[in-house]
Amino acid sequence: MFPARTWRENPQRYRLEAQKCSKCSSVYFPPRKVAPGTLDGSCLEPYTLPNDGTIYTFTRINVPPNQFKDAAPYVVGIVELTDGTKIMCQIADTDGMELEIGQKVKLEFRRVQTDGEHGVLAYGYKAVPAIPGVTTV
């Protein structure tokens, strides 16, 4: 992975930086140049996604792409955050066998990929099942 390609996504991946439309309150993640249907980006304001939500759907990947060979099997899912935004990411700290749609999760900062060819370590968010009664930072 060419370093600039992953570096330029860091605001989204490290800090969940998204956009909110000042006119209609729609949330866009990742950020866009223009708001859909307007050809104009001036209404898009910086907005940080909440980091907790529920599992919308998920799958356990048994046959992985090359760069995830060491991680398989692993779980990828779509999380519906508390503001309604949906985001795709891995669901970590679980083998996926007990997960259910609707289960509460939190987004945490984790290492996502290790790129062999150029040595880039790519970090970002992963969802982790929230344990009832335990507050994580």
């Binding site: 759907t57 779509i78 990411c89 749609i101």
Partner: protein
């Protein structure tokens, strides 16, 4: 716009083809189509191919294939829309003929997917998903459709068995298609116990990696009537639409909006409705895709696609036969060629040339071709004159 017909079709045997190269398999299909049409030259050519650059290291495909087809200086355009590349090539060729600019145009498709390792093929296919927000996180294509399947099961009670019935039906049809990559039947138990790829999808829910090409020859209706000796199949209408390529950006995972919109456009242009369609070829890249698409095309109510396949409504002889060719599942899925091969099955059925898998009295057929996880879609509706 002029009326447009398909006057020739051609495809070789699909599969893992070690003896022939990309250019060889394409030229074989194109020559078969030209001979079927009874002509030896055309005005122009469109070739659907997803990513020959990644599969075999070859771009500039239009010129290469025109050269090896042996038609000097032929204008030729390579068209890309992931797995819908063939469908978009067909639409492009249709428009060139309909506009009056050309009278005879080849719409072809090709993909040579086994000239690289399985890992390289997986990587190449994954480029049809959102690299930074899906593939980055380890999502694969089976994984994306598995997420749709889980949601469809959750919202509508679609069962694991119903997914398997799609594979069983399509292999039953494909067993009667001599061009199919895997022309054999599979059992419900066989599908249900096959290797898990991305839960809940197993290997026999997935279309295979395939080498293959397919070509059709399009002509304006007047030219078609003059030279075509077989029943003339008219393209009554098409629809083409896109959607987000990232799944997380969609409102719903149990419908495919590009397919819904493309179908609406095609039905309107053709002056047809879902109940007018006698049979359809749809993009069953994974079993769940056929179920969702059969709903989105208006054949079944939302959520009823699973029960319909289980009840046999989509088999030959049922209410609306789907994927009589064997579909992507059994016939194979050389991604860029798939949309054209679907059109070939429609023409074969409408001409009454489909042999053991013939749908009796077929007059109107529909082909639905889809890119990625539904980020692009074409629908073509055809009728025999």
């Amino acid at each position: 716009m002029r009326e447009v017909a398909i006057i020739g079709v051609g495809m070789g045997k699909w599969g893992e083809i070690w003896n022939d190269s990309l250019r060889d398999i394409y030229v074989e299909a194109a020559v078969l189509a030209l001979k079927d049409a009874g002509i030896d030259k055309v005005d122009s050519m469109y070739v659907g191919s997803m990513t020959p650059g990644l599969f075999v290291g070859q771009e500039h495909l239009g010129s290469l294939l025109a050269d090896y087809l042996g038609i000097k200086n032929l204008p030729c355009t390579r068209v890309e829309s992931a797995c819908a590349s063939g469908g978009v090539a067909l639409k492009s060729a249709f428009l060139e003929v309909a506009s009056g600019y050309s009278d005879l145009v080849i719409a072809g498709g090709v993909e040579k997917m086994t000239d690289c390792s399985g890992d390289d093929a997986t990587y190449a296919l994954a480029t049809a998903a959102d690299q930074e927000y899906e593939v980055f996180h380890g999502a694969t294509f089976p994984g994306l459709y598995a997420m749709m399947a889980r949601r469809h099961m959750f919202e509508y009670g679609t069962t694991r068995e119903q997914l398997a019935y799609v594979a069983v039906k399509n292999h039953k049809n494909g067993a009667k298609n001599p061009k199919a990559q895997y022309p054999f039947e599979v059992t419900l138990e066989g599908v249900m116990s096959s290797v898990m790829v991305a839960d809940p999808l197993r290997i026999l829910d997935c279309s295979p990696i395939t080498d293959g090409a397919a070509c059709v020859v399009l002509a304006d209706l007047e030219t078609a009537k003059r030279i075509c000796k077989k029943p003339i199949v008219k393209i009554l209408g098409f629809g083409h639409a896109t959607d987000t390529i990232a799944l997380h950006a969609r409102e719903s995972l149990t419908r495919l909006d590009a397919t819904i919109v493309a179908a609406e456009r095609a039905y309107k242009m053709a002056g047809k409705k879902p109940s007018d369609i006698d049979f359809a070829e749809v993009h069953d890249c994974f079993t769940i895709a056929e179920i969702i698409v059969s709903e989105d095309l208006g054949f079944f109510e939302k959520g009823k696609g699973g029960p319909a396949v289980e009840a046999g409504e989509t088999q030959i002889g049922g209410k609306i036969p789907i994927n009589t060719s064997g579909g992507l599942k059994s016939k194979g899925h050389p991604v860029g060629a798939t949309g054209i091969a679907q059109a070939i099955e429609i023409v074969s059925q409408l001409r009454g040339e489909a042999g053991d898998r013939q749908v009796k009295g077929a007059k109107v057929g529909l082909a639905q071709n889809m890119g990625g996880s539904g980020g692009s879609c074409t629908v073509h509706i055809m009728e025999v004159v």
